[in-house]
Amino acid sequence: MIWQLDLAILTLVIFTAIAAISVKDLLGCAILFGAYSFLMCLLWAIMAAVDVAFTEASVGAGVSTVFFVAAVFRTTRRTRD
């Protein structure tokens, strides 16, 4: 548990979160959301929560991004905000 590394990744997480809710394209939002989940997984690995990190890497960064892209494929990429 190195607090400098923790702080750096946590800052990146916050930037990715802001980018994910402010980007004007839903497909870009899906990819940014996948990156957000993966950074979150790193954060849990730092906190020694290996099981949670494993779950987030397979569920959050993997399957959830696929669901998101599938839903964007079936609806629209357009968003006004």
Partner: protein, 131 residues
């Protein structure tokens, strides 16, 4: 100044988790697009999961997997050498449940799009309003 840094190191995590939670809550309230609202909901969820996991972590502790031979009886296990496993258990299931609820929410969004041909909240409300 020198006594400010320990306080900062001890508490900055909680502050950044709260900032993350505020981002999620803002997206849920103020964003106009339904899928953006769902992203906000997921950010909110992960910030709370982060908070729970961070409650369980201990400085200088290792992962909660006991080495072979350590449990044989002649070594007493010192709980302060292992991080707290209880929040991990609770949050592990919460992550998998969150992805399934995300799937159901996306299904609702697809249904809404088929009905109204848009995902923007104000356009849907304009269609719903009687003329």
């Amino acid at each position: 100044m020198s006594d400010l840094i320990p306080i900062l190191v001890a508490k900055y995590n909680y502050w950044l988790y709260i900032v993350l939670m505020m981002i999620g809550l803002y997206a849920m309230i103020a964003k106009n697009n339904l899928v953006k609202k769902l992203v906000g909901m997921n950010i909110f969820q992960t910030s709370i999961i982060l908070f729970y996991v961070s409650i369980g972590c201990k400085k200088g502790a290792t992962i909660p997997i006991i080495q072979h031979g350590m449990a044989a009886g002649h070594h007493a296990i010192d709980p302060s050498h292992y991080v707290n496993p209880l929040p991990h258990v609770l949050m592990l299931t919460a992550i998998v449940v969150s992805v399934s609820t995300f799937g159901v929410a996306l299904a609702l969004a697809i249904k809404t799009y088929h009905q109204y041909k848009t995902l923007e909240e104000d356009e849907i409300l304009a269609r719903l309003r009687p003329r």
